[in-house]
Structure formats: structure tokens, C-alpha cells
């Protein structure tokens, strides 16, 4: 296999992680909304925790993106 083709395939495989992080981020906001609708009075006080969870889930997807970019632009 040519180096360039292997590079592109590798970058594509690394990008799967971004999709996985999308599931995580969706889960964070989905769960928050679900419980916020059950107890709207407590929802506002948990906004900070919502964004901490979002940041943690997002970071892993962004790392996957960074890895894909490193593979794509290697050499």
C-alpha cells in the first residue's frame, strides 16, 4: 500500500472517535434535559456541572480530531 493511501485511511479511522464523542455529548445534554424537565426548579443550579460534563466529553472527541490531523499531515 502507498504511504499516502495508508495515511488517509488512518486519518479516517481516527475520525471515528469524533463520532463517538458526539454520542457522549448528546448523552450529557440529553440526560440533563430529561432530568431538568422532571425537576425544573433544580435545573439552573446544575448548569455548571452540565458544562463540566460537556467539556470532558468534548475533549476526548477533540483529541481524536487532533490525532486524525497529525496522521493526515505527518511527513
Amino acid at each position: 500500500m502507498e504511504f499516502e493511501s495508508a495515511q488517509v485511511i488512518g486519518a479516517g479511522l481516527a475520525a471515528i472517535g469524533v463520532g463517538a464523542a458526539a454520542i457522549g455529548v448528546g448523552n450529557v445534554f440529553g440526560s440533563f434535559l430529561e432530568s431538568a424537565l422532571r425537576n425544573p426548579a433544580a435545573a439552573d443550579s446544575q448548569q455548571g456541572r452540565l458544562f463540566i460534563g460537556f467539556a470532558a466529553a468534548e475533549l476526548l472527541g477533540l483529541i481524536a480530531f487532533a490525532v486524525a490531523m497529525i496522521i493526515l499531515y505527518a511527513r
Binding site: A55, F65, A66
Partner: protein, 257 residues
């Protein structure tokens, strides 16, 4: 963009505008510096317009008060009354990142010959911001608690057997903080700008093509409007998350846990 290969990385090149070499150092005034100065100018203008201390605040003053109140609230909730003295730092961090992110998204490249630049899309900038936050956490922690600060690595109520393992994990998660802070902001900005660039060039090269190209160009154009809106949201969220995590780390250093 000329037809042919899409080059999404070109927008991140740092070009010297006013070359200046001192000794072995390159101190040129680059486009990165220019956009940071622009961000500073925007912040100064915004704050200056709203700091007239009118008894009955106008719209502008309400906007400034809303911004400061928002950050003040965040600091009070997360750190407590002792966090007041860190409020200026958190506020500068938040407004600077927000201004840089938003200026990078404004359609200013429409002016011929201008090349837009987002300072926060570079690891050197976000890294310095993160290292600043991290050093403040370390200094405050050791200043207030001395060597007792190391109890941060052992949460209260940890069983004796687990202490070495937990301490190692907590130590790693503590040391990785500046990297995760810097990486999150810079990668989020890079990813957004690459996405915008790629779909923007789809629009251009699509409309140059035939009937099929028109379809592709139109779809990309509709898509890029949505992505731009999303990027505005991401710009605000990333600035907020950076400030929020800094307050949380400061809270760790001030109150231990």
C-alpha cells in the same frame, strides 16, 4: 480560492507584518499579534462605553453589567466569597478568549487583501493562557496551605490501602490540566475553521461547475449558515468552559477537598 486542492491549513499561518529582529529573537509584529490587539481594542471599547456609572443604566451599561455580573456570579458560586479577588483574572480570561474567538468568526475577510486570523487557534496562545491559570492555582495553593496542599491528591475518606493508587491517579489528572485546558480551546477553534473553510470552498467551486455543481454549492451554502451559527455557539461555550474550569481549579486550590 483557486480551483484545485483545498488548503484548509493556510488560514492558520502566522505572517510577520512588521519584521523586527533583536539578537537571535524574532520579535516581529505578526498577524496573530494584530488580531490580539484588535480583540483588546474591542474589549476596551465595550467596557469603556458601559462604565459611565449612570444611576439609571442605559442599554450599553446593562450589557456590560450583565457580562460582569455573569462572571461574578460564576466565581461566587464556584469558589465562594474568597473568590472575589480572582474575579478580575477570570473576567479578563473570559472576555479575551471570547473576543478572539468571535473576531475570528466575523466575515472580515471580505475586505480585499485582508487575511483573517484567530489567535486562539494556536497552541502557543492557549498554552500560555492555560499555564497562567495553572501557575496561579499552584501559587495560591502553596501560599495558602503550604505543603498541606498535597492533600489535594488524597480525597477525604480514602481507604488506607487505596492511597498510593488514588494519589497517583489524582496526580496525573492534576498535571494534565493545563494541557487539557489549552488543547480543548485550540482544537475546537481549528476544527471549526477547517470545517468552514472546506465548505466555503465547496460553495465556490460548486458554483463554478455545471448544474450538478449548482446543487452541491447550494446545499453547502445552506449547510455553512448552520455551521456558522454553531461556531458562534462553540466560541461562546469554549470561552465559558475555559473560565469555568479555571474557577474550579482555583476552588480546589483555595478550599482543598
Amino acid at each position: 480560492m483557486a480551483a484545485g486542492r483545498i488548503d484548509p491549513m493556510h488560514q492558520f499561518t502566522v505572517e510577520p507584518l512588521i519584521p523586527l529582529k533583536a539578537g537571535g529573537l524574532d520579535l516581529s509584529f505578526t498577524n496573530s499579534a494584530l488580531w490580539m490587539v484588535l480583540a483588546l481594542a474591542v474589549i476596551t471599547l465595550f467596557m469603556w462605553g458601559g462604565m459611565k456609572r449612570q444611576i439609571v443604566p442605559g442599554r450599553w451599561q446593562m450589557a456590560v453589567e450583565g457580562l460582569t455580573g455573569f462572571i461574578d456570579d460564576m466565581v461566587q458560586v464556584n469558589i465562594g466569597p474568597e473568590g472575589r479577588k480572582f474575579m478580575p483574572y477570570i473576567f479578563s480570561l473570559f472576555t479575551f478568549i471570547l473576543a478572539c474567538n468571535l473576531l475570528g468568526l466575523m466575515p472580515l475577510s471580505i475586505i480585499p487583501g485582508q487575511h483573517q486570523f484567530t489567535p486562539t487557534s494556536h497552541f502557543s496562545i492557549t498554552g500560555v493562557l492555560a499555564v497562567m491559570s495553572f501557575s496561579i492555582v499552584l501559587i495560591v495553593g502553596f501560599w495558602r496551605h503550604g505543603l498541606h496542599f498535597f492533600s489535594l491528591f488524597v480525597p477525604r475518606g480514602t481507604p488506607k490501602v487505596m492511597i498510593p493508587l488514588i494519589a497517583a491517579i489524582e496526580f496525573i489528572s492534576f498535571m494534565v490540566r493545563p494541557f487539557s485546558l489549552a488543547l480543548r480551546l485550540f482544537v475546537a477553534m481549528i476544527a471549526g475553521h477547517i470545517l468552514l473553510e472546506v465548505f466555503g470552498s465547496f460553495v465556490v467551486s460548486g458554483f463554478q461547475g455545471g448544474a450538478m455543481g449548482w446543487g452541491v454549492g447550494l446545499l453547502s451554502f445552506i449547510f455553512i449558515i448552520g455551521v456558522s451559527a454553531l461556531e458562534l455557539l462553540v466560541a461562546a461555550i469554549q470561552a465559558y468552559v475555559f473560565a469555568l474550569l479555571t474557577t474550579l481549579y482555583l476552588n480546589d486550590a483555595i478550599n482543598l477537598h
